[in-house]
Every structure is written in C-alpha cells, then in structure tokens.
Symmetry: C2
Subunit: 441 residues, 2 copies
C-alpha cells in the first residue's frame, strides 16, 4: 500500500509538472500573440546567434548521441538522420534566418466590414496558441520548428526521439539563452524528453491546440488515435495516376516514371497506375519497359497481365502504400471507372491525370476529391517548397482546411474583432429595428 | 438462435442499405461539384417551385404531425417549433430563393501561381462532398439546409426529429420532384427517419465529410462524442463581459444588459460579468439596479457581495452556461486577472471588453483567445446574419477554421489544381536543377 501511494504521488506530481509547464507555455504564447513582426523577428535572430555561439556544445552533445546510438547498434539510416555536424548546423541556422524573412502570417485582414456606423467587424489571422510537435530522430527539427512557431506567434512543446535527447537538450538550451535577451519569453519553447511525457502531452487538450507528428505512417496513426487534439498530418498517401485515352504517351511515360521512382518512400509518390482500356495494348508495353529499366516491380490486374507480364495484383494491392519501387496497374473501361477506383481507394492526397483532352482533364480536376488534383505533371510536385510556401509544416489529407501541403498558415487561425461604441442588439430587432449597413471597407 | 440470426441479418441489411444510400448521395454530389452556378441556381429555383406546388400536401402532413404531438402531450414550445403553416412555409420558400441569390462559394481562386513556365498552381474553393445534418423538430430546416447544400455543391443527408417525420417526408418528396426536372440528381438530398439511423450515420465516415447538429447542448455533445466525422458546432457558450477601469458606465450598463437579457438562451449571451476592482464600488450598484429591473438573478463572489446584495457564487458558477436570466459577477484585481479568468473558464466563443482605454482594448482583442473578441458592443452581435453572411450554417468554437459564426463558406474546403505539360520533379533536383519561378499570377 505504501509503495502504491508513493507511485501515485510521484505520478501525480509529474503530471502536474507537465501541465504546469504547458500552462507556462500557454501564458508565454498569449503574450507572444500581441507582439509585432519586428519583435518576433528579433527573437528569431537572437536564436540564430545563440545557436552559433553554442555550436561547440551542440556538436559535442550530438557526438555523444551518435556514439551512444552506434553502441546500441541503431540502424545506419537512423544514425545518419541523427547526425548534426558543423555543416548541417550551419545550414539549419541559415534556415532559422530564412524563417525570419518569411512574411508574417499573423494579422492578415480577411474581412473588414462596417455592420453599422461605428460598428466595425474585422476578421484577421491570429496564432493558434500552443503547438505540440512530436518527431523522430533529426535534431535539426528543433531549430526549424521553434523558429516557425515564434514567427507565427505560437508557443511550442517539442518531443524528440530518445536517441537525440542530448542534442535536443543542447539546442533548446541555446534557444532559451537567445530568447532571454528578447521580449519573447523562453517559456514559449519547451522540450520534453521521456516517452511517458508523449502520452501526457496528447491528453493536454486544455493547453495544446494542434499536434504535428513527424515520422512514419504507423507513428502518425498512433498519435491520431490517442488524442482529442487536432492533428496536422496524414497516415497514408495512396496516389493514383490515370492515363486517359487522350494521353500523349511521352508525357504519360515521363510523368509515370517520375511519380514512381523519383522518391518512392515519399507520400506523394504514386502507388497505382490506371490505364484506359482503349490505349492499354499500346501504352502498357512502353511504360512497363521504362519502369522495369528503373527496377520497378509491376503488379497487374487480369487485363494488364493479358498485355504485359506482371505479378498478379490482388484486392490488397489497390489499398496498399508500397513506399517502395512497386507499382500496381489496372486497366479501366473508361474515365468514370477511373474516378470510381480513385474514390474507393485514394487517400485524398494527390491524384494525377495525363491527357490532351482538356474537357476530360477539367472534369477530373473538378470531380476528383483530393488535396491535389494534377494534370500532365508528376505527383511529386505536391510539396510546400515546390508550391513556393517557403516552409512546409506538414501535409494534410483531411478534407477541412488546412488541406494539402501546409506552410506557415497551418499554424494560424482567425478571429472576429468587433469594435463598437456601446451598441446593443436590441436596437436592431423588433418593430423599430435599425437596419445593418453590411458595407465592406 | 434462429431469432438472433434473423436480427443479425436484418441489422446488416439495414446498415448496408444506409451505406448504399450514402454512396448514392456521394456519387450525386461528385457530379454536382462539377456544375456551374447557373445549374445549381436552376435546381434551387426548381425546389422553390415544387415546394409551392406541393404546399397543400406539406401543410396537411405537418398538421398530422402537430395533432400527433398534441395527443402525445409534447411540450408547448416544441409544438410551436414543429408547426409549419401556410405563412411559415411561404417564408421558408422565400428563404430558399434567397440562398439562390447568395454568391457561389465554390470556385473562388485563393492562390494562382506559376511554379514554372506551363506549370500553373491554382488553389480554389470546392465543395466538401456530403454533409450530414441532424436536427430536432423545426421541419423548415429541411428547406434551408437542402438549398444551402446544393448552392455549395454538396450532397446532404438529413435526419429530423421523430415528431416531424411526416412533414420532413412531404418536404423531401417535393424537393425530389423539383430536382427531377433539373441536371442535379435527386440523390443529393436524402432523408433518414429513424433514431437508429442517426447512430449509423455517425459511423459513415467514408461517405460523410461533415456533421452539423442543430439542437440543445446535450444533443451536440452526444453527436461530438459519437463520431469520427468532423462536427461543425459547439456544445457550450460561456461568454464573459469585462468592465475595465476605463469604462464609460452608460455603455457598460447598456452592453451588459443587452448581452444578458436580449435572448438569454442564446449561446452568445454572457454568463459572467468581470469588473475591475477600482470601479466596482461605483459601477456594481448601477448595473445591478438595471439587471434586477429586468429580472436577472445575480450571483457574486465575496468582493461583489461586499458591495451589492447577491446570491453567493460558487466555483461551479464560473463554469456554468445558465442559458437563463442569471448572471455571475466577479471583481478582478486588474486586466490580467480578467484575462486569466477568461482563459480558465471561457469556451472561446465570444468575449467582450468595455473600456475607453484604446491600448487596453487592443491588448484584449489581441490576447484573448476566442472566435469573437468585442470592444464596446453586445456579445449578441456574434451571429452570421448580423455579420452579413446571408446565412448561418453554424457557430464553431473550435480553434481551427472555420471558426465563429459560419456561413456558406463552412460548407466548402479547397483543393490545389496543378496543370502542366509533362513536367517531372527530377528536372528540379540535383546538380543541373531548374529553378522554380514561383510567380503569382
């Protein structure tokens, strides 16, 4: 009984301490929401300078992480992602300064309307509040995310991977020292270091307004199913490319190959190729030759197999994100069957049509329900940097905004400000009701 | 065992039939998403005409509902809401035509950018897909919601109250007959009539993109905790009015009284009055006299009770939405204590400050986290019609958009269309990488 009691107390204290820390971040963020772009940019520059000043400690801490990872036999790819040497750190600090130069997403006037004389409604963008970011390895995420959060007026609670704990701690220490000399409270950037804290973080819906998970599909799925807090992210990316009867074969082959092989592990790579029956016999051998040349394994339905040799595709193939050099191929009767297949199996990420038939392309762009609908170009363009957002906070396959690749605007929401002169609603109701002006300013 | 088997089968058949119906609505909506404003407006006019043509049947069906409700001893207020006589029907049909005249929320270009020559990105508003609307009594909701859904290019699945089943069925029959003569499939408007179907509806996240509940707080809360589908709505509205040290007393009294008594059951009525300590002794007696004159019950904290007689307020009062002529009053040390109280107890709906101190007002508008932040005007202005939206689909207290009173734009999302000429991402990477133009058009 005594042991149990002690456990309970220690549990409770830890929980309280995380909630208290989150509350401090929330308070800091409330203040930050009121600061000008200039004050926020000064804070970002102070962070960049502090990171430069503390480079030796940061690199040493990272070396200790890397050595521990090597001793524990961590996989090579993970060790590579973990590494933060002088060159990588310099690039990341340049990235922090780039964020400083981005336009301020806060304070944009989206609506400005005189409801009546001296009663003015303004809808303007404002910070979300506090963002929780949970990421695996890559300690450089700390710098990018902290600067994006401050730029958008948000507090941030960071949870990095266990293997990067020394690096993340050194980075956040430098960030805190940088902020100490500015108007922005160091409380706005918090670091969590234990796995247990992740689960607690997911329960703090009173203090955290958005969770951004960065990691594998399974990781994102775990986060999504363990929190009431909105999650910016997506668990899968099953993207299709439909080669229409009216396709230019050269474009179709180029776009198919690029969409599959340019980076197969990316969520915006295609998993299934849909080919119109009228051109399948001519097109499939050509595209298969190119794909095979690049080492892509093909899995075809019966009609595909009647034209080219492939591994037989099963029902499971249509619903699978290979994230690898594998492509499922299906011959469809017509455009509507392509749409039905995409509607049934697509994850609303990015869908592509290749055709010279502009009317068909227009219908595809209108009717296909996905964050990105592309005509005659690679699915791999679905990316915040390629879209020119300057930064990518995440990619969302939710239907409600923000949708698709999300830049800084994913870290802001909006509010309605109404400024009057003592007006009452009673004056605008009943027999002698005043009329509203509703005049946009 | 036999009985159990029969139940299972019938359960399954019913479930399938609802899923099949939802799929039909989804297909109809996909087609609808491609139609022009003109085609959608023709469909809305056809609905208005069909409702006029079927007015006698609709009114007769409603009379049968009303008689049944009277026999069952349904509460008077509910019976009043249920009633749809010739006058109310005429007004509702006029409302349908009003929706036809609203600007089309679909197809608005939010971003138009040349990524490179012949590679153009467009972000534009598009329908959500299928919206599920669950409402209590008021059969006129059927007409308003169906026309709003079609205007915004969405299919809609309606679930009305049991007591309004005859009215809703007659209305939807007329709507279907109206749509039959247009390009828009009657499948886009579906009506469910049994309570069991509500729970099934909430599980159809494959076919339904947004749920809009219209009813009591408890009802909305039930919906929210029983579905994975996004819900547009809010379960509570705890709004505060803070009377600052720098307030004009006349304005403060007028705005307080209007915010409390103009429609106490509304979510945008205030529940708590916060008063700066420096003016409490002068202000509280004046405002209390006016509130008491209008029958408002006052519940005060200790410092309030030292100035005016009130019922003692307990901790529970700060967290309660009275929806009635009751007002909790608290004296706060200063502006920051007011902000802390609002942050702790507010439901992020609408928060008001009354002050002549413009700097303090500005800080309030910036730092208070709510869908509506008001200065020197009644909280009751937080309403889609008063904001000039032409229609109000719902009010959201979520932090992510859409937030606050939501008009037609709450029924649309956006997508990115990228139109190219065979471009591959490989051309923009590596040693000989092409640069993006990122030129806004």
């Amino acid at each position: 009984m005594t042991a149990l009691k002690i456990n309970e107390t220690s549990e409770q204290t830890k929980e309280n301490s995380l909630a208290i820390a989150a509350q401090k971040t929330q308070r800091g963020a409330r203040e930050l929401a009121g600061f000008s772009s200039e004050v926020k940019n000064q804070a970002i520059e102070a962070i960049a300078q502090a990171l430069e000043d503390h480079a030796p400690e940061i690199i040493a801490a990272n070396q200790a992480d890397c050595e521990a990872a090597a001793q524990e036999g961590v996989a090579g790819a993970l060790q590579a992602r973990l590494k933060l040497d002088a060159g990588k750190l310099k690039a990341a600090i340049a990235g922090v300064r780039d964020v400083g130069r981005l336009p301020d997403p806060v304070g944009a006037v989206q609506l400005h309307r005189e409801l009546d004389t001296d009663l003015v409604l303004t809808r303007l963008s404002c910070p979300l509040g506090v963002v929780g970011v949970i990421f695996e390895s890559r300690p450089d995420a700390v710098m990018q995310i902290s600067s994006l959060a401050i730029k958008s007026g948000n507090g941030v609670i960071l949870k990095g991977g266990r293997e990067a704990v020394r690096s993340c701690t050194a980075l956040v220490k430098a960030i805190h020292q940088g902020l100490a000399s500015t108007q922005v409270s160091p409380d706005v950037v918090q670091l969590l270091t234990t796995r247990e804290e992740t689960l607690e973080l997911l329960s703090l819906d009173q203090y955290i307004d958005l969770i951004i998970p960065r990691g594998s599909n399974a990781f994102v799925q775990f986060i999504q199913s363990n929190t009431q807090i909105p999650v910016l992210g997506h668990a899968d990316g099953i993207c299709h490319l439909y080669v229409d009867r009216g396709a230019d074969f050269t474009k179709a082959i180029n776009v198919t190959v690029d969409s599959k092989i340019q980076y197969p592990a990316a969520c915006n790579a295609i998993e299934t190729l849909l080919v119109h029956a009228d051109i399948a016999a001519d097109f499939l051998p050509l595209v298969a030759a190119e794909l095979t040349k690049h080492g892509v394994e093909l899995r075809g339905d019966d009609r595909t197999q009647a034209i080219i040799p492939t591994i037989p595709a099963t029902e499971a193939d249509w619903a699978m994100e290979y994230s690898d050099l594998i492509l499922a191929i299906k011959v469809v009767d017509d455009f509507n069957h392509a749409l039905d297949h995409i509607s049934a199996y697509g994850s609303k990420h990015t869908e592509v049509i290749v055709t010279e038939d502009v009317a068909i392309a227009q219908t595809f762009l209108k009717q296909v329900d996905a964050a990105g609908v592309f005509h005659n170009c690679s699915s791999r363009f679905a990316d915040g940097f390629r879209y020119g957002f300057g930064a990518e906070v995440g990619i969302s396959t939710h239907k409600l905004p923000p949708r698709g690749p999300v830049g800084l605007e994913g870290l802001v929401t909006y509010k309605y400000q109404l400024v009057g002169n003592g007006q009452m609603v009673a004056s605008y109701t009943g027999a002698a009701a005043k009329a509203f002006l509703h005049r946009d300013l």
